[in-house]
């Protein structure tokens, strides 16, 4: 049973078809990657799933609920949370506050509870804080609770963004180029971290450029080019797929012809 299923989704910007009748699925507990050259439409897919873009055709189903063309808030509440290609933390807030913003939808009190510090406020706030601390502890950010987000090293900022996503209570984490801008050591750490998330039962969908990361971590890979799906399969299948090589390296025959001309 697929946790997330996209059925022929299409997105057009004016005349440009950014995503063209794309279908894919992510099963419970899997790590699935979407790869493709620049401009293939990967981030557009993420924006469609998370409700930032409207979908022109097709349907997205998550956890037996249709989530296509629903508001981002509905989608977060349904259990999908994401990170961003260029880290978007709440920079002027502390690490713990960032994660507590993540607990927002699970924290159940209203404005007047806050104003009068009711029992419900105190209980919920204690629960939220404890949850935030537990999450931070579980991903080795426990020592940075009091720091401000923009003072963290780059790799930890990525990690905090994921912690924040987890705090929403998401079942599916969508990571947009998590290894972008990382050195080999940092991306190695990230790999282990993502694997540990999988072990904890999270389902993960990744867009990534770093082939090393993708090939090492994914259960399955979808390859996109010009908004279309051109291949899917296990990492080893993808690595030997001629269409994929063509999309990434250009047409081999063209290269040869150019060589002849010289």
């Amino acid at each position: 049973m697929a946790l997330l299923e996209a059925k022929g989704i299409t997105k057009k910007f004016g005349g440009l078809v950014a995503v063209d009748k794309l279908s894919f699925e992510v099963k419970q507990g899997e790590i699935v990657s979407i790869i493709g050259p620049n401009g293939a439409g990967k981030t557009t897919v993420f924006n469609m799933i998370t409700g930032i873009y409207e979908i022109d055709e097709g349907e997205i189903v998550f956890d037996n609920k249709v989530i296509s063309n629903k508001s981002p808030i509905y989608i977060v509440e349904a259990g999908i949370s994401r990170t961003f290609q260029n880290i978007r933390l709440f920079k002027q807030m502390r690490v713990i506050e960032n994660v507590m913003v993540g607990t927002h939808i699970k924290t159940n009190y209203n404005f007047f509870d806050a104003l009068f510090r009711t029992k419900r406020f105190r209980n919920e706030e204690r629960k939220a804080t404890q949850k935030a601390i537990d999450i931070l502890e579980s991903i080795d950010l426990g020592d940075y609770i009091n720091d401000y987000a923009n003072n963290l090293p780059y790799g930890l900022q990525r990690r905090l963004e994921i912690a924040r996503a987890i705090a929403t209570g998401a079942k599916l984490l969508i990571l947009d180029e998590p290894a972008a801008g990382m050195n080999p050591q940092e991306s190695e750490n990230l790999l282990n971290f993502i694997r540990s998330l999988q072990a904890k039962g999270y389902t993960i969908l990744i867009i990534e450029h770093d082939m090393n990361v993708v090939m090492n971590i994914s259960d399955r890979i979808y390859v996109m080019d010009y908004g279309k799906r051109i291949a899917n399969g296990t990492p080893s299948e993808i690595a030997s797929n001629p269409d994929v090589i063509k999309a990434y390296l250009g047409d081999a025959s063209e290269i040869l012809e150019e060589d002849d001309a010289v």
Binding site: I52, A128, D134
Partner: protein
């Protein structure tokens, strides 16, 4: 004999001067503090702090006029008038939030500026209600449960202190809750906040309404304190004073606003005192226009702070640890 008498009158004078020096500024300072505090709440979409303060002053005027008109001409109970004034200002805040929702950046700036002008224009021109530039005179002293609070018996002073405490407390309660965090998150990065399931529109409306409500509440104080209000009471100078307080103390901190208010508020009276003091000095050394000099100093504070410490005296990131609710602890200690 004569000498002694003169000395005594000088002494009395000094006491009175010092009294005035502090009484006025404290009251004004507290009103400004209330204005400055909630600037913090307005989302980034009101790009410019100045504009935020301009609309705060507009809300402040709405609160002031509502309360004053009700108590002076309708004989409404003071408390009822205050609540109505603050609520009306809050309603205008919500309205402004709704109408600027679609716009961004510069355009929000101009709409909020326009809002300030529309409100001042209405105050000036709607003669039959607001009494235009003549203003509302003989505002009655607040009557709380049969007790008249005047300047003479110090009642107004305590009332104002009470409001200040209330405002600071409310700010703290809201900031340290999911509501405050949501507002801060929307202010920091709206898209990321939405992706956390935060209803950005809802929290923008809440932020504007809160800011307007407390500005309105501060406004209801001004009438009874001064005894009269007119259109000139709510001008750009108040905006500038509040802006300077926020800039000096630190944008976005409660402590900063308090420190800023303490430093800035007595400045006008100090300069006035200085003018009197300098009367004996040669002409070229005298400061003849304390009010104008005050604004020149305000301008300098802004320029200098922006250049050397844009986050303000107490602004920027707090070094104190995050205050945890009781019963929360780290399980693993490394």
């Amino acid at each position: 004999m004569n000498m002694k008498k003169e000395n005594k009158s000088l002494y009395t004078k000094a006491v009175i001067t010092i009294g005035q020096l502090w009484e006025n500024p404290i009251i004004k300072g507290i009103i400004l503090l209330a204005l400055a505090l909630f600037v913090y709440f307005l989302p980034k979409m009101a790009t410019l702090y100045f504009q935020r303060i301009a609309i705060m002053v507009a809300f402040y005027a709405i609160g002031a006029y509502t309360a004053v008109l009700l108590t002076t001409y309708r004989g409404t109970n003071y408390l009822v008038a205050v609540i109505l004034g603050a609520c009306l200002a809050g309603a205008f805040g919500a309205l402004l939030a709704l109408s600027t929702m679609r716009l961004s950046g510069t355009y929000v700036t101009i709409v909020t500026m326009a809002f300030f002008y529309v409100i001042s224009s209405i105050i000036l021109n709607w003669d039959s209600v607001t009494k235009g530039s003549v203003g509302v005179l003989n505002i009655p002293a607040p009557n709380l449960f049969g007790m008249k609070l005047t300047m003479k018996n110090g009642g107004i002073f305590y009332l104002i202190m009470f409001y200040a405490a209330l405002t600071i407390l409310a700010t703290q309660l809201i900031i340290n809750s999911k509501v405050g965090r949501a507002i801060k998150a929307v202010r920091d990065d709206e898209m990321a906040a939405i992706m956390m399931g935060i209803n950005n529109k809802k929290y923008k409306i809440i932020a504007y309404t809160l800011a307007a409500f407390f500005a309105g509440l501060a406004g209801t104080l001004y009438g009874p304190f001064m005894g009269y209000i007119n259109n000139a009471t709510f001008n750009y100078d108040i905006c500038i004073s509040a802006l300077v307080i926020v800039i000096l103390g630190g944008i976005g901190t409660v402590k900063g606003a308090i420190i800023g208010a303490i430093i800035i508020s007595p400045l006008g009276e100090l300069l006035r005192g200085l003018t009197t003091f300098m009367k004996g000095l040669p002409e070229w050394m005298q400061i003849s226009q304390p009010e104008q000099w005050r604004f020149v100093i305000y301008g300098m504070i802004m320029v200098i702070m922006m250049r050397f410490r844009p986050q303000g005296i107490l602004g920027g990131q707090s070094k104190l640890p995050y205050k945890m609710p009781k019963g929360v602890e780290r399980k693993v200690m490394k």
